[in-house]
Symmetry: C2
Subunit: 132 residues, 2 copies
């Protein structure tokens, strides 16, 4: 079989929902919201999430155990991800900064390890919450 071009039913249902909410959402919250579409079990959600992460349609916010749609339309595979997270309102934005990504892609650690992926999470206060 050639590399999958189209999403399967469950994958599409999960992706549609994640794209609709437009903010990080947790697996069981997705489950509750797509039960009317016929997805009944956690595993169905997790399997779709795994695939969507793998093909770069969504990202996992590790520190929050939540998933968010990828905004970089050309992001095929999640090899280089960076997010800003507001510790007050929990708003999460994907950072797309070519200088940052270039810097990190080229980073060489002292142990000479070969990197093929990274994930960076910044924490702080977003503009709205800074004012309060």
């Amino acid at each position: 079989m050639l590399k999958q071009e189209t999403l399967s039913k469950n994958q599409q249902i999960v992706l549609d929902f994640i794209e609709k909410v437009n903010e990080p959402i947790k697996a069981y919250s997705i489950l509750h919201n797509v039960q009317k579409k016929g997805i009944k079990a956690p595993l169905q959600v997790y399997r779709a999430l795994d695939k969507l992460v793998e093909i770069g349609k969504i990202h996992k916010i590790e520190s929050r155990n939540a998933f968010v749609a990828c905004k970089n339309s050309n992001c095929q595979i999640s090899k280089a991800t960076a997010f800003s997270i507001c510790e007050s309102c929990e708003e999460v934005s994907e950072i797309s900064d070519s200088k940052l990504s270039k810097y990190l892609k080229n980073f060489q650690d002292k142990a000479g390890m070969k990197f093929n992926k990274y994930n960076l999470e910044f924490f702080g206060l977003c503009k709205k919450c800074s004012i309060k």
Copy 2:
């Protein structure tokens, strides 16, 4: 009360164990290993972990739900952490690279968010696993 200078009993037990194993370890694995010291319940471990993370004695590897002792003796508070993770053997090393940390501390995102913390995880193959 002044800021705590010494660790409490449970905190010390948990820290001692994490420092001894010298690699990332999970909360329930810690629990199993310190039961002989009188720690019986998950909460006792998680409370100690929370405190130790807060004061910078250990770090959490978010993508692995594991905890590791801080190697930077002067790392008082975990505001700037970077790790390399081997996806084959799961070896984790803390990266201390002053250029990298300076670059990230000064990073300004386009939304003008004020950062006070970041966590970066690199994934790849360590030297040993590259050879195989």
